[in-house]
Amino acid sequence: MPLVAEGVEAEAGGKVILKGVTLELREGEVLAVMGPNGSGKTTLANVIAGSPSVSLKKGRILIDGEDVTELPPEERVLRGLMLLFQSPPEIKGVKLSTLMIASFNKRRGLSSDLLKVTDPSIFSKMRSSLSVVGLSDEYLYREVNVGFSGGEKKRSELAQAMMLDPKYVIMDEPDSGLDIDGLRVVGEIISRMKREGKSVLLITHYTRLFSTVKPDRISVLMRGRIVAQGGMEIAEEIDRSGYSKLAERLGVELNND
């Protein structure tokens, strides 16, 4: 069963940003959503995850066939969705381990005592998820994202995804701000998630991740609309001639009004 955004029209800050987006993330696939800056990729991710900063004017969000449009973000998480932020905010006072334990408990329905460690293996799980993304254990005891570099924030997002164990992962530009090693790690994690049968909605405007993980399908978002869908040939075209040429060929406007 898929994750579906159906005919989504959405506004943020009083501005119409998404103008009728339909998109389906099928089980076990990696779907890349590409598009130039400002095309609405983050807004799309936010609306799927249920951000209160975006108001959905039309359309629906479905998880495994269930309409979750009216559900708050946390309820969507319980149904298997997770959004990794493009720019994760700093959460003062809350340690990464605290957030990981709380979300682990919630996802597994152990919410009676948010911070209780019911599964003693949780610490080794946390440590190994950090080591996979190349962060030391010490990050567990740091406040979430506080003073993290751009790359460290991205790594921490991925580590949290491994702890939470979602079914549908939306990654909003997991590759921005990462060095070569970081890119490889992200690519490997996505491949691993795919192997485990998870679905990944990979938002990016570069094709550089695709050498480690090939998306099954690619959709291109411009000015709040999906303007092209297809396979790797789209990535190759973007790489070769850029978004403006693609827009020209498709006969659509590239820039925002």
């Binding site: 708050p72 809350v94 709380a102 948010l114 939470l164």
Partner: protein, 474 residues
Amino acid sequence: MTEEKREAIRRFLPSPELKLPEGFSSSGYFIIKGKVEKSLVEEISRAKNEPEWMLKLRLKALEAYERLRFPNWVVGVEELNIDEIAHYVRPDAGLARSWEDIPEDIRKVYESLRLPEAEKRALAGISFQFESETVYLGIKKLLEEKKVIMLPMEEAVQRYPDIVKQYFNKIFPYAEHKFAALHTALWSGGVFVYVPKGVRIPQPVEAFFFMASALEGQFEHTLLIADENSEIQFIEGCSAPMYKRYSFHDGMVEIYAHRGSKVKFVTLQNWSGNVINFNNKRAIAEDNSTVQWLEGSVGSRVSYVYPSTILRGDNSRTSIYTVSISNGKKLKDTGAKIIALGKNAAGKIVSKSISANGGTNIYRGLVRISKGSMNTVVSSSCDSLILDRESKSLTYPHNQIEEETASVSHEAKTGTISEEHLFYMRSRGLTEGEAKSLMVLGFLEDVLVDIPFEMASVLNSVVQLEFSKIGGTG
């Protein structure tokens, strides 16, 4: 949750759910109510059968009360009409020395607060005040062996007049403000504790105050004297069921820490949401003594409380922690005062406030270093956390430094929780309330590590319960 934690929570957190037991009746209670005037004060004194000197003190305080103006910064008490409430309510119960002997309906309240378990497990002594009088006093052998005196305040007035006279109202004189004067004119209940020289009590003693009815005043007076090189921890808890109208609390705590002694005084105030709460708390610290205050203000509609220490002696120390939570249309006007007179004294104020759902916190602080209080160091820090746009926090620190060698620092920070923070946490599966409670706990962390473990775990649970109620659908 451990059993201990559950027990502690029941003890300090009952207000929203707390109900008086079935069959509870206050019809046999002796009540003195109405206009606060000489005849009323005399009647209270008579009811207590107290010595002439105490009546004289009350009447002098009454004069001051009549003379002193209502402090103009006090807000949120419009409903309060001092002359309409019951000032003295004596329950139909004597002083029990074993909790099984408390009359049944009051005993049920006592049990519902889990006090018997706490007493057995963790306390060296406990007093339980119901309305205006102490109805139970439980003392462990240890206290008797060490000649510690722990008594209802009235009994101390009768039995140890010389000691009481020496300290009562001397640490916090009634003339300082209208509510201190009112308290002194009407006081009833509270405990007296004297710790002899060199005696250290390993377990805390506790006083618990309960107000069962609306339109009632509670004016308990606690006097704690730690003689030289002694050590004591005192826990104060309070609770009340939700009423239809307000009730009024105007208590006083006086602490005298003699040379080399250590006193820790911990309060977890969780009155129900219709209590108007004033409190007058002050300690005097002699040479090499240490006084620590922890004031956790969670409940009540309006609270005015500022634990204060006078660092009279050389090398005396104090730390004052206040944690104030205003969740909902509540006001906490809290703070701390340190007045340093001795040399090489040290003080630390840490104030943390959390405002949510239209709540307001005000910090009012005073640090005064008198000339001659050489090399004294006082730091204060005020952190406020504001959870939404409807809530606010105000900070009024005030320093008066007359001594050049002293060093005083003040720092204030305000943090807010934005929708973006909340969305981030919610995208990890937490409800809005859970997200808030984690952020609040994180905010309190440096205080939580510094206070007795049991209190830390209670505060921790208080926060989780306070904030997980709100905003969540889970």
